[in-house]
């Protein structure tokens, strides 16, 4: 299970984008703390999808709606356009079929929101130059126990969107909880995007 700190830096950015009363689906919702936060900040109705037993239990304890399932197997239980936002928070880098997940997000939701650790962040680059796999607050795993199999940089993700009919609506790049506007792919450690079908 993803263990969410009470309020991760991307939570506030996401809450700012989400319209009050919106219908939200959070894929890989972990302990449900983002849904709980959005519910407190924005109201509306949200559901989480989570594969892990402990995540289901923690989400139930957090008082949010949660459905146990494997998002890699598609979102067949969810009707087309049934959500205003489908969120994939710090999970994109850990899914096997990234293309399919993004496609499903935009089938089920009007807009998608993803956040991911930016592999292009200079500290990560430095680790690699020094001959080591990066480890940091955003990438806390060692190479042999990491669930992250599809790490990417900001440039990679934007190339992907262009090639897959995805229109980016908004982007925030962050480091230590603050926005980074200058050289984001080098100086930002966390990327947050809002997008729709092009």
């Amino acid at each position: 299970m993803k263990t969410n700190a009470m309020q991760r830096p991307d939570f506030a950015a996401i809450a700012n984008w989400v319209k009050p009363g919106a219908r939200i689906l959070d894929l890989g919702c972990g302990d449900g703390s983002l849904l709980r936060y959005l519910n407190e900040q924005r109201g509306g109705i949200g559901y989480g999808v989570e594969i892990d037993d402990e995540g289901i239990l923690a989400s139930a304890r957090n008082g949010v709606n949660v459905i146990q399932g494997d998002l890699e197997r598609g979102l067949s239980g969810f009707a087309d356009g049934s959500f205003d936002y489908v969120i994939l928070s710090q999970t994109l880098q850990a899914v096997r079929s990234s293309e399919r997940v993004i496609r499903e997000m935009l089938r089920v939701g009007r807009e998608g929101i993803v956040t991911f650790p930016n592999f292009g962040y200079w500290r990560n680059r430095l680790h690699v130059i020094l001959g080591k796999m990066p480890m940091s607050d955003n990438l806390p795993y060692r190479w042999f126990d990491t669930p992250n199999i599809h790490l990417c940089t900001i440039t990679d993700f934007e190339d992907f969107c262009r090639g897959h009919g995805v229109r980016i609506l908004e982007r925030i790049v962050m480091r230590d909880g603050s926005a980074v506007d200058f050289l984001p792919n080098l100086l930002g450690s966390l990327a947050v995007y809002r997008f729709e079908r092009a």
Binding site: R61, N65, I67, G69, G77
Partner: protein, 382 residues
């Protein structure tokens, strides 16, 4: 451990009987003039009566959900691991009610009761009752107990169908539904198993067209076969393999039709026990209630429309090895609840035990139920 030593047991309990004189119109069009329901309660109702939980039973169970009887300490309630002080459904917070359904054989009016019109046992003449009829009768019991709204209605298997039906029939009278190991209707395969069970009973020479009480006999052989068939469907292949495998009772083949494999012996033993305490006419009716349950049928097969009236919050739980009511069937319910934007928590417990897992003590399952009841308790102010 005896009932007094287990601080998590509700301890010694006793059934009560409620009498209803107002006729009950049944879904079949038939009616029943007056009837009695046997029930048990554990824990106490709070001042504003907001903490009542109804627990519905499945095919072979009864109102005896938790605790023990003074004169029969081995007769432990069928969901005793779930209900009691400090258990997932905590009787320190909630007032829990178990009821034997109409048509049952544990004291509520059923085929063994006297038909006032004839002065003899109802037998085959006892009407066919449905899940919806049971829920109507349960609602009257709630009236009788002064409960206008249940904090939750809970059940597994056929009991879960009753909880689901509560949300449709009496949406204003139920806060939450705990729907465990359920299906929105029976598949052809499910109905087929029920039909084998019924044929075993009906073709038993001792069945006497359902009037066997008058012949001082009962179709015990048929009921045993019926129970065997049912029992097989409650267990997973893996569970049977690990429990029995191909173990022989006497270590060698005897080339006979005695119970040679342990699984044969187990089924025979279980079904004998069952035929001693269960009534065949009740068994026939309960399998019919299962077959008929299909809330979507009145809405062109659309479960989303069927669940539109429901306003309750839902906890839905399925078990990965349950091939009788598989997780796919629970996901149909989830889909309909999502379409209606209902509050729902859904868990698929990876347990090896098949359908019967809902009765067993799996910590992931029990912790989740406990967490969900904690939420219900906070809402109910207990």
């Amino acid at each position: 451990m005896d009932g007094t030593a287990d601080k998590h047991s509700v301890g010694i309990v006793a059934p009560q009987t409620a009498r209803f004189d107002e006729p009950l119109r049944l879904k079949s069009g038939a009616g029943i003039g007056g009837y009695e329901l046997v029930f048990e309660t554990y824990g106490s109702l709070n001042a504003d009566r907001s903490n009542a939980v109804l627990v519905c039973h499945a095919l072979n169970a009864s109102h005896h959900v938790a605790g023990r009887y003074a004169g029969d300490p081995d007769n432990v309630g069928w969901w005793d691991n779930m209900i009691g002080p400090g258990k997932p459904l905590d009787t320190n917070r909630f007032c829990v009610i178990g009821v034997n359904n109409l048509g049952g054989c544990f004291g509520s009016t059923g085929p063994q009761s006297i038909n006032p019109a004839t002065g003899r046992a109802w037998g085959a003449d006892f009407p066919v009752v449905t899940v919806e009829d049971w829920v109507d009768a349960q609602a009257r019991l709630a009236d009788h107990l002064g409960i206008s709204r249940f904090a939750a209605v809970m059940g597994g298997s056929l009991g879960a169908m009753q909880a689901l039906s509560w949300t449709i029939q009496y949406p204003e009278r139920i806060g939450h539904a705990l729907v465990i190991a359920c299906a929105p209707n029976l598949s052809a395969q499910n109905i087929a198993f029920n039909e084998v069970a019924r044929q075993a009973i009906i073709t038993d020479p001792d069945f006497h067209e359902g009037h066997y009480y008058e012949h001082n006999t009962k179709p015990a052989r048929g009921l045993r076969v019926a129970r065997m068939v049912g029992h097989i469907t409650y267990l997973s292949d893996d569970e049977m393999a690990s429990k029995f495998g191909r173990q022989l009772r006497h270590g060698k083949l005897n080339y006979s039709f005695d119970a040679e494999f342990e699984i044969e012996s187990y089924l025979r033993h279980q079904s004998h026990k069952f035929s001693d305490y269960f009534d065949a006419n009740t068994y026939l009716r309960i399998t019919k209630a299962l077959d008929y349950f299909d809330p979507a049928a009145g809405h062109g097969g659309n479960l989303t429309l069927a669940l539109e009236p429901a306003t309750a919050g839902f906890l839905v739980v399925s078990f990965t090895t349950d091939w009788r009511f598989s997780p796919e069937r629970s996901r149909e319910i989830i889909k309909a609840l999502l379409d209606n934007r209902r509050d729902v928590t859904y868990a698929e417990i990876d347990a090896p035990h098949g359908h019967d897992a809902f009765l067993l003590d799996d910590p992931r399952y029990h912790r989740l139920v406990a967490a969900y009841y904690d939420r219900i308790g906070m809402e109910a102010g207990v």
